[in-house]
């Protein structure tokens, strides 16, 4: 039986990785990811987890080491954040097209400069196109569950792609929450041993990572893209199986009080909890407001998102990322693209909020909804608006 415990989310994630029986953990510490890998190194040192913990010299080395261990057929986990994720960037593209199912938890944090250790989504949005499956957790329980789910999906032979679970730095990583930690038997039932389609084995030599001449490079990339699109089916299937064993059901897009809603907030990650409180307050005040939360970001669940929008007329999309010089934030851009020229599609307004650890409060969400309502009547001059920014 699973047990409900009060535990720091980072520690709970490490426990989940232990329950998943990870075999190799190459990692480099960085705030706010540190507690996850620190606890894993303790578990290995104490003999509680039969794994190799590789204390590498950088995140570049961590991800390189992950590629080696997963290619050799070992269940592989790492975790990082912000600048560390950026240092991994060169390597991130490699296991994805090579179909090597590494699992990584990213404790999302702003990118320097100015130096910030606090939470937003700029670090992961930079890595949006690396070809990793990407999910976003809202709370501690979900962080644990999505970590277990990531192993199941990534290693599924029909998927065989690396997977990134995003948790908000500090807001999730450093809080103590009541979390149901599953027991070993349940996890073993959900997560069979890792059996890769191919591995590096001297008895059956193959070459991984050869050069892709112009005659094959495009085909290799399209094969990867198609694998990502096909992966969605198995991501959903694994969530169904997760629900059967653990009793918690997840889906690509979470809807909250969307019935008859005219305006929908769209969020990702932990600010969604505040957004729900804001939705409750606005509903109490008689406003037809709801919330959509994107849990699966890559592959983007376009069909599920359109269905979840239903008949809502306005989307107020909140990005926690400000790409300078772009037309709007990445989530806003994705949704504008999704609905472009589709008859009856909602008006989409893009907002940027919660950069570098700034709180997005209930009042801010109410402000966003008010602005979206006004913009629907009178088209705004700008393609996006930064919420709560001081001019002077």
């Amino acid at each position: 039986m699973s047990k409900r415990v009060g535990i720091e989310v980072s520690i709970a994630i490490a426990e989940a990785v232990g329950l998943a029986r990870a075999e190799v953990i190459p990692a480099y510490p960085i705030t706010p990811q540190t507690h996850i890998v620190e606890h894993l190194s303790e578990m290995v040192a104490n003999g509680e987890l039969d794994a190799e913990f590789v204390p590498v010299e950088s995140e570049h080395a961590a991800m390189s080491c992950c590629c080696g261990s997963i290619a050799a057929g070992a269940r592989t986990f790492t975790s990082t954040s912000s600048q560390g994720l950026a240092l991994m960037s060169e390597i991130l593209y490699i296991p994805s097209t090579m179909r090597l199912p590494i699992v990584m938890v990213v404790a999302n944090r702003a990118m320097s400069a100015p130096i910030s250790i606090w939470n937003d989504h700029q670090d992961v949005m930079v890595q949006r196109d690396t070809g990793w499956i990407q999910t976003f957790a809202e709370n501690g329980q979900e962080a644990v569950d999505l970590t277990l789910h990531a192993f199941r999906v990534a290693e599924d032979r029909n998927v065989s792609l690396p997977m990134m679970v995003n948790i908000d730095g500090f807001t999730l990583s450093h809080v103590i929450e009541p979390i149901e930690l599953p027991d070993q038997e349940e996890v073993d039932k959900f997560l069979p041993p890792f059996k890769p389609r191919y591995k590096l084995d001297p008895r059956r030599p193959i070459t991984m990572g050869p050069v892709g001449i112009p005659e094959v490079y495009t085909e290799a990339k399209v094969a990867h893209d198609m694998a990502m699109k096909k992966a969605k089916r198995y991501i959903l299937k694994a969530w169904d199986e997760f629900a059967e064993i653990f009793g918690r059901k997840y889906n690509p897009v979470e809807s909250y009080r969307t019935e008859d809603a005219e305006i929908l907030l769209v969020t990702m990650g932990s600010i969604s909890e505040t957004a729900m409180t804001a939705v409750d307050a606005m509903r109490d005040a008689g406003q037809k407001v709801g919330l959509l939360r994107i849990r699966l970001w890559r592959p983007f669940p376009g069909q599920e998102f359109r269905k979840a929008v239903g008949k809502a007329k306005v989307l107020a999309v909140v990005d926690r990322c400000l790409p300078p010089g772009a037309l709007c934030g990445p989530v806003g851009a994705e949704l504008r693209s999704l609905f472009y020229k589709i008859p009856g599609s909602p008006k989409i307004f893009s907002f940027v909020a919660g950069l570098g650890g700034r709180d997005v409060t209930v009042e801010r969400f109410e402000e966003i909804v008010d602005k979206a309502r006004a913009f629907a009547k009178k088209r705004p001059r700008e393609l996006y608006e930064v919420i709560g920014v001081r001019e002077k």
Binding site: T97, M98, R99, L100, S160, R197, Y198, P205, I206, T207, M208, G209, P210, G212, I213, E215, V216, T218, E219, A220, V222, A223, M226
Partner: protein, 97 residues
């Protein structure tokens, strides 16, 4: 496998772009971008094999008469053989066209 066999569709390309047949580089013509090729003057050649020793692509093979002959499928025209030949028996000649 000749180079043309590498031209596969995305549905048939190997999983993860892996090479599943060990040592299959030997099946690929790799000398087709050479700008010059070595020509051996058998009058000067003493069959010492220095070209065979130094060739970085192992493109030289010994024939029945003991001469070392370059395999132009693999020679990339680097000229190391011509540089190392103690009898100056090898001349680098520009490839035409």
């Amino acid at each position: 496998m000749a180079n043309s066999d590498a031209i596969v569709g995305w549905k048939t390309i190997t999983f993860g772009c892996h090479i599943l047949e060990p040592g299959n580089a030997a099946n690929f013509r790799t000398g087709d971008w050479r700008s010059q090729r070595p020509v051996v003057d058998k009058e000067k050649c003493i069959k010492c094999g220095m070209c065979w020793v130094f060739c970085p692509d192992m493109a030289y093979n010994q024939d029945e008469d003991g001469y070392f002959v370059v395999d132009l499928e693999y020679c990339k025209g680097c000229g190391i053989c011509a540089h190392e030949c103690p009898k100056d028996a090898i001349t680098m000649v520009p490839e035409e066209g």
